[in-house]
Amino acid sequence: MEIEKIIRKVWPKVRKKHLFPQIPPPKVIEGGEEVALEIKSKQLFISNSFYEKLKDTMEGEEIVEAVLDHGITHYMYCPWDFHTHLTLYNEAKKVVRKKEVAQKATTYFMDVVTDTYCVKEKDTKIPNLYKNLPKTGVHEVLASLYEKIWGVDLGGGGFDERVNRLSRIPYLERKRWEESIKKFTKVIQDILEEELENEQENPQRRPNPLGEHSLDNYSLDEIDRGLRDFASAVQDLQEFKETVEDLREELEEKGYATGGMGRGKGNPIDANLLYYMKLAESYTLPIRKLPIEKRGDLHPHSHMPWEMGKPFADIDVWTSFGKIMPGITQIWMKREGETYGELEGTPDCLIIIDSSGSMINPRERLSYAVLGAACACNAYLKNESRAAVYNFSDALRGNKIVLDFNQEKEQIYQAICRYFGGGTALDLGDIQYLLSCADNPDIFIITDMQITNLEKLIGFFNQIENRVTAVHLGHNVHPTRSKEGTETKKNISLFNIKDKEDIPKIVLGKIKEYLASTSEWG
């Protein structure tokens, strides 16, 4: 095909122009004569039919170069990543309230930013491409805008009031994109709504010639990362929920259901769960490890120079720079774990979470209790330990969840996120049962300490030797009681959380004094 030859010729030049982005060579697809470009993960696809249709009015190389400039700049500048895409969508949605209109506004805004960046910063044929593309609806307004802000003749014109407003937006100021997309959307809102109405009436819709921007543009890892950053950046749970609900179908189609870390076919997406999952990924809680048992196996411990006659199997190729030469090559010295002659490990953890009426409903607002518990869960699971959950309100009346030790993240999160409301009483029998299911597990309890049978709980903690991380939320007198009650116990650590930022200060399994030799840990 002619276009393939052109791509082979143009691609090195375009890559160089954009400073060698790490994306594979573009491929050609048939069909779709109205859409020049498709982007899937990091793969660009150029439509042969589009090329064939346009090549009578424009040089073939120019078409390919312009389309590639556009596509690559989406990777290199706007949106750059999925988080930026979500943020822009979220801002547009605040203006228009309708999912489809917000998606359109986001697509057009990203195109304006991308193309303006190319025109200003690179030697590009994009203006030529626009000159030859059909101009209807929003494209007519955008062509007039480009004429004004790029200073080129594209055969457009008109829409003075709108174009005046659009031309005052600082498209190339990344820091102001959130404010800019709002302004942009407001100016073209009525045209977008009209376009949507027309599409709904007429199924043969006219697509964006330079491609739509959807979740297809991103890999699952990029979506993971984007959702995590978005969860940290949004002002509240509702904002996150609304955006995820809007994208639910696309996320599920992409295989992003809630199995594991949101991957795989299975249950439909629970936006609340996903919010806490993603937010918790932003925090890493350290766990003090514990000598668990002597395994007797050897592990690489330190380096020593390799000498002739020593086994090759122990050579560390990374520190030997790939050379086998006495004096340069290094081998691993293996030895058994030295901490008390045993390997360190992480025990399982019982997460006790209070979901009584005095706690925040995690499905309505950001609950630090749930976030804290989610962070603890992540920390233990990452260390290949298991977690059990005891979620309670008035446990004596059955308002409780008792989840046995397991490594199923989604199941654990579901148990953590359950909200009962009502009174606060623990059933110590349940806790004793769960503790008996694992070998000396850690306990992580998160509550505002307004527990009816708090004295009993303190008494119980005083009897056991498990490491207890007790996290108290907010201000009240009850933690003083707990503190006084457990003061002499070295295995109980109390933390107070007043803000989201206090969560990373929690150290799981911290103990005031753990055997004489490790007292500095406390």
Partner: protein, 235 residues
């Protein structure tokens, strides 16, 4: 020894072509205009609200207006610049303090002296409700405000047409002489207080009328002044 190849050589060969495009000029000129407009507003505050206090009185409004007129002298601006200024008022990083009275007088002055005959201000997302918008709006001027406005809207209206695509508060159209105020939604107390002519048309409810000398007031298309129950007041 073979010469080592610089792995970044290919990058050195790339040439960057950064060029100025009309967008740069537009944005630069916008920033310059905004800073001039802001300076005019700051001068007004320095003169009229030294202690960050501004008393809403007939004489203070007149004085503020004449200072604002001097403040904007020689500034080339458009309706979009006025709108930018309104949003700048909302952002504390650009203006240290916002006093809604002088701000309203200043915006009204900008509108009254703008080149355009029709000015549309899209203020739906503004956090503050600005008072005194449309003050002394002259004939042949049409000011359309999208969003809700504060007290004393359209006072002393002097022949212009003021359209509020939202609600107004108290004393709307007080002392207006001629012209038209159309408010899509509701109005507060003392509407039309001291007005001598012109029309106020409210699409929603009016909480209360002031002492009205002349003119016409409509509530949901029904004339409520003058009518049998409400007679003109003579000061």
């Amino acid at each position: 020894m073979p010469k080592m190849k610089n792995p970044f050589e290919a990058f050195h060969q790339t040439s960057s072509r950064k060029r100025e495009i009309p967008l740069d000029k537009i944005l630069k000129s916008k920033e310059e205009t905004l800073s001039k407009v802001l300076k005019g507003y700051e001068d007004l505050l320095k003169n009229e609200a030294k202690d960050l206090v501004w008393l809403m009185q007939y004489s203070t409004v007149i004085k503020a207006y004449s200072i604002a007129e001097k403040g904007i002298e020689g500034i080339e601006y458009t309706a979009e610049d006025i709108e930018e200024f309104c949003y700048a008022l909302d952002r504390t990083d650009q203006i240290p303090y916002l006093i809604t009275g002088p701000a309203g007088v200043y915006i009204s002055t900008l509108c009254n002296y703008a080149k355009e005959e029709e000015i549309a201000l899209h203020l739906r997302d503004l956090n503050v409700k600005i008072n005194l918008l449309g003050y002394r709006l002259p004939p042949n001027k049409k000011l359309i405000v999208e969003g809700n406005v504060g007290d004393f809207t359209g006072i002393g209206l002097d022949g212009g047409e003021l359209i509020i695509e939202g609600s107004g508060k108290n004393y709307t159209g007080a002392g207006m002489k001629r012209g038209k105020i159309i408010v899509r939604h509701n109005l507060g107390f003392n509407t039309g207080h001291g007005m001598t002519g012109g029309e106020i048309i409210a699409g929603g409810r009016i909480k209360g009328l002031g002492k009205i000398v002349g003119g016409k007031i409509f509530e949901r298309e029904h004339p409520i002044f003058p009518n049998e129950g409400v007679k003109p007041f003579y000061f």
